[in-house]
Assembly symmetry: C3
Homo-oligomer: 153 residues x 3
Amino acid sequence: MKLFYAIIFLILMYSCQKPQHISEEKNVPIFHNSHEPKKQDAPFSDVVQVGNVFYLSGQIGMDHTSRTLVKGGIEAETHQTLKNIQAVLTAHNLAMSDVVKATVILDQIEDFTAFNTIYKTYLPQKPARTTFAAEALARGAKIEIEVIAVRTK
Amino acid sequence: MKLFYAIIFLILMYSCQKPQHISEEKNVPIFHNSHEPKKQDAPFSDVVQVGNVFYLSGQIGMDHTSRTLVKGGIEAETHQTLKNIQAVLTAHNLAMSDVVKATVILDQIEDFTAFNTIYKTYLPQKPARTTFAAEALARGAKIEIEVIAVRTK
Amino acid sequence: MKLFYAIIFLILMYSCQKPQHISEEKNVPIFHNSHEPKKQDAPFSDVVQVGNVFYLSGQIGMDHTSRTLVKGGIEAETHQTLKNIQAVLTAHNLAMSDVVKATVILDQIEDFTAFNTIYKTYLPQKPARTTFAAEALARGAKIEIEVIAVRTK
């Protein structure tokens, strides 16, 4: 009968690992502080983490050290927007290759080709994407990009 | 050999709990009926639940008892929009503090500061956020807000 | 003691199924190739899968065999847009009934009723939905629809 108890013990021990597993599934959200000193008072987080899913706020082509939009039109703003996204991801040990979904909001649909040419070089894995032109963006930006990233390691 | 069968039985019994576990993970979506009597015929659910993630439909500053937009411009509509979101969350035992992501669609980008001042007081945990001005919103609304909420308890 | 080893073997065998289970939870994203031969060079995937969640790219009323927008205005484009979504879902063994969230972007808010009447017939389960009119859509489209679908089987 010793063997019987040993086995019951093993099965119980195995079962005891369950609660931990369940709590992981609960995915308590983490509202990360911005890595940018000048964005601490923003009414949004750069990124909110839910388990291994990271919801990033829309980024525009702003130089966050000076808090001004970069000059140079759609090309310069597209580069800066994507670099801002990259900086947020890097701050959380993620990479552009972890982006699974993008929403691209242009100020003018005529900028589609210009933005698209640059965009492709940053996200060659081809996240699912929706693009449209808004009437206007905050701070007179020409482009805003919002992404969802997924941690896999 | 009785012991052997007893243990096989225990292991099988344990295995039988799996399907339930798997079905939880499978996250069968729940298309919740609206708590608003006058929204039963809407072609969208106020909220669809996928596991512990709640996708809310975009809300505007509509008084759902009269089905008319509240008067008073961007301030009044922002308050009503956020109260409508709060009501949907409350109906599902959630709170504004469970909101992780917001999409804010304005009719005019000039309303940014007005909406932002009010918004901050409802969602101090700072959900990830994207904001832009559309050409137009349904029913002549000045603001529409869509959120994702996560249940943690 | 043979029995003891048999049981240890059974428990180990059972445990060996765990890693696979964990890797499923990690939800390594899958950037699916388009089922449309003419969309292979698009800078976005028709759909990216994260576990049982499928993020679809925004679709417009384009006939993907000719790569031109269907003629016939908002009604024809709404039908084609929803059929394009259906085709992507079908290619991944999913159905319209698996759609949990939709974002509808119109070119003109005046098309709301026309699109809505058709939309209802494709998605009677009532996904959560946000609708607005953009300033412009790519390729002069009158409607773009983005959805999230969830696999339950």
